[in-house]
């Protein structure tokens, strides 16, 4: 059957996802309440692209019961460059992540992915990534890909490129800034803001965005991930300045694969009305103008 004929089917089902039981290889603290966990999963690591996520939970445990969506931070590789596994960076937040923070190497995790659409791979002059807090996690891989440092996907995805990549990274305070060296190491121009002024610009990340847009010439693309209010502000700026913007929604999910209808967001339809769409199989990345923020 030709599925393209079915308007009810979502575009990004878990058709290439695998479910694996993996062991924690390492789990290191990067910043306050922020950790990077690494596990081996060669096939998943080979196929995942920036902006895609995995569902993760502790194996053999019924509390917490459900997996949690976590973005791919980066793929780690062997000496020959072959994908071995993935890194995930998480903020200790609730039930699962507080248990995760106490996981030692060898702890078994249940993982399924890659899931969701990931960021598009396009040719742009200037990619500006705007991150609020833990919303920074998809951007190391995205920056690396757009700067031509690393290809992702199986077969490796072609066509994503940017002459320049800027990262506007806003955090509560300096102690929450995580992985800044990782961003700088791959050639990303990192600008920082904090709410309390303890590092970088004292103010909002949108101030950094406005400054970056003022300084930039044609061919800008924005990619944004963070708290909903911040993404809404970024979407508004992008609309005012007529700059295309992708947002990665962080809607809570129960399954990550389109079967529970938990993670719905109001998405604008072609006729101007909105409909609840499952962010896991329609997103999590959307063109900003498609989202009805309320």
């Amino acid at each position: 059957m030709n599925e393209n004929c079915n308007p009810l089917h979502a575009p990004y089902y878990a058709d290439h996802a695998v479910q694996l039981t993996v062991e924690v290889v390492e789990n290191v603290q990067l910043a306050r309440d922020t950790y990077r966990i690494r596990f081996a999963c060669p096939s998943l690591a080979a196929s995942i692209t920036p902006g895609q996520f995995v569902m993760l939970r502790l194996a053999d445990m019924q509390d917490p019961l459900l997996g949690r969506p976590l973005a791919m931070y980066d793929v780690y590789r062997d000496a020959d460059g072959a994908a071995v596994g993935i890194d995930v960076v998480y903020l200790v937040h609730g039930k699962l992540t507080s248990k995760l923070a106490r996981c030692a190497p060898g702890q078994r995790l249940e993982v399924w992915g890659p899931l969701g659409n990931g960021f598009p791979g396009q040719q742009v002059d200037h990619l500006i990534m705007v991150a609020g807090g833990i919303g920074q996690t998809p951007f190391v891989a995205l920056g690396k890909e757009y700067l031509g440092r690393q290809a992702y996907g199986d077969p490796p995805r072609q066509g994503a490129s940017a002459g320049k990549v800027t990262m506007c990274y806003g955090a509560r305070s300096a102690e929450y800034l995580a992985g800044v060296e990782d961003f700088r190491a791959c050639g990303i121009d990192v600008k920082i803001s904090t709410d309390d002024g303890s590092a970088g610009h004292h103010g909002l990340v949108t101030d950094l965005l406005n400054a970056a847009l003022d300084a930039s010439t044609a061919g800008v693309q924005i990619a944004c991930c963070g708290p909903e209010r911040m993404m809404e502000s970024v979407a508004t700026i992008a609309a005012q300045r007529n700059v295309p913007c992708w947002v990665s929604l962080e809607t809570p999910m129960a399954c990550g694969i389109g079967i529970c209808f938990t993670c719905v967001a109001k998405v604008r339809q072609d006729d101007g009305s909105w409909d609840y769409k499952r962010t896991c199989v329609e997103g999590p990345i959307f063109a900003a103008e498609k989202i009805d923020w309320e």
Partner: protein, 317 residues
């Protein structure tokens, strides 16, 4: 030789007793990449209604201790879209589709069932008279007489095997099951979710958009097992056990307690390939009981023997 796994629900023959529950497997297409959907004993797609429904406002689910509260609110595109877009896909699968419907009135249920009866792709119809998240539907699953009359009305217009999916949120579920049997149901699916709620005391607000929702997952298994047992004692038609099933032990417990088949629900969320693993494990579990067919296991629960007297001669508490 491994034991036969096939079971019958009315005139519907299932290759095995592992089915997936409505609202927890999408319309099957979603799962096709991770699960060999054609191996399932049957597929119950998400409940459809006459008209499209947007569903409830978020939050739609909240995780609780070993469980999940949901108030999805029957988010679906309506029966027309289902027949046009989802049924052709379901029809080409090797597993029968047991189409779940919910109506606000007896007429709506009857019309939908009559319409679906015309399609070869429909293996059976499950009447969702137990959804806690919409007003209407659930009422038919509470009062035995209303339930019987509804089933009888649908039965008169429906040529497919008919299942009644019951709510545990009643005083005596076996009475409702008996009424469904009297009305002409070919089987009972039990249970739907238990009504519950979750509260954020700091904000002094309910967590679910719809305030209350249905509890599912491992937390409800003992309740589901009790319901299935009570129903199986009471009716002659097959019972499909649902509620907190996620391991082969859970499956076997339901079969022994009287279920002819089971549906996997919430476990699909936290363990997407669970149904395939259960299918793989089924033959060994039957072999452990020395069973040549699954029929030997269904309802094989033995009466509990008298408690052994303790040293003082009174029964151990």
């Amino acid at each position: 030789m491994s034991a036969s796994l096939s079971v019958e629900i009315g005139s519907l023959r299932l290759a095995n007793p592992i089915l997936v529950a409505s609202g927890t497997f999408g319309y099957a297409r979603e799962m096709a990449g991770m699960v060999d959907v054609g191996r399932l004993g049957g597929i119950v797609p998400k409940t459809i209604t006459q008209a499209p429904r947007a569903g409830n406002a978020p939050w739609r689910t909240v995780e609780t201790t070993a469980g999940l509260l949901n108030s999805i609110g029957l988010d679906n595109d309506g029966i027309d879209a289902f027949i046009e877009h989802h049924l052709p896909y379901l029809g080409q699968l090797a597993s029968p589709a047991i189409v779940s419907i919910a109506g606000r009135t007896s007429e709506e249920f009857t019309q939908m069932a009559a319409r679906l009866s015309q399609y070869d792709e429909v293996g059976a119809i499950e009447l969702n008279i137990s959804c806690p998240n919409v007003s209407g539907g659930v009422d038919f699953g509470i009062c035995p007489e209303t339930c019987r009359d509804l089933i009888a009305s649908v039965r008169a217009q429906c040529t497919k095997p008919l299942l009644a999916k019951l709510t545990p949120n009643v005083a005596r579920i076996a009475d409702v099951a008996a009424a469904a049997e009297e009305g002409g149901a070919d089987g009972i699916s039990a249970i739907n979710t238990l009504l519950g709620m979750a509260v954020d005391w700091r904000r002094q607000k309910p967590l679910l958009g719809n305030v209350m929702g249905g509890l599912s997952g491992p937390a409800i298994k003992p309740v589901a097992l009790r319901c299935v047992y009570q129903i199986a004692q009471r009716v002659k038609i097959p019972v499909i056990g649902i509620g907190g099933i996620g391991t082969i032990d859970d499956v076997m417990e339901f079969l022994v307690a009287g279920a002819t088949a089971v549906q996997i629900g919430t476990a699909n969320f936290n363990d997407p390939t669970v149904s395939m693993r259960l299918l793989d494990q089924m033959p060994a579990a039957l072999a452990e009981l020395g069973a040549a067919s699954i029929q030997e296991i269904i309802g094989s629960l033995q009466p509990k023997s008298q408690p052994a007297p303790n040293v003082l001669g009174s029964p151990v508490a």
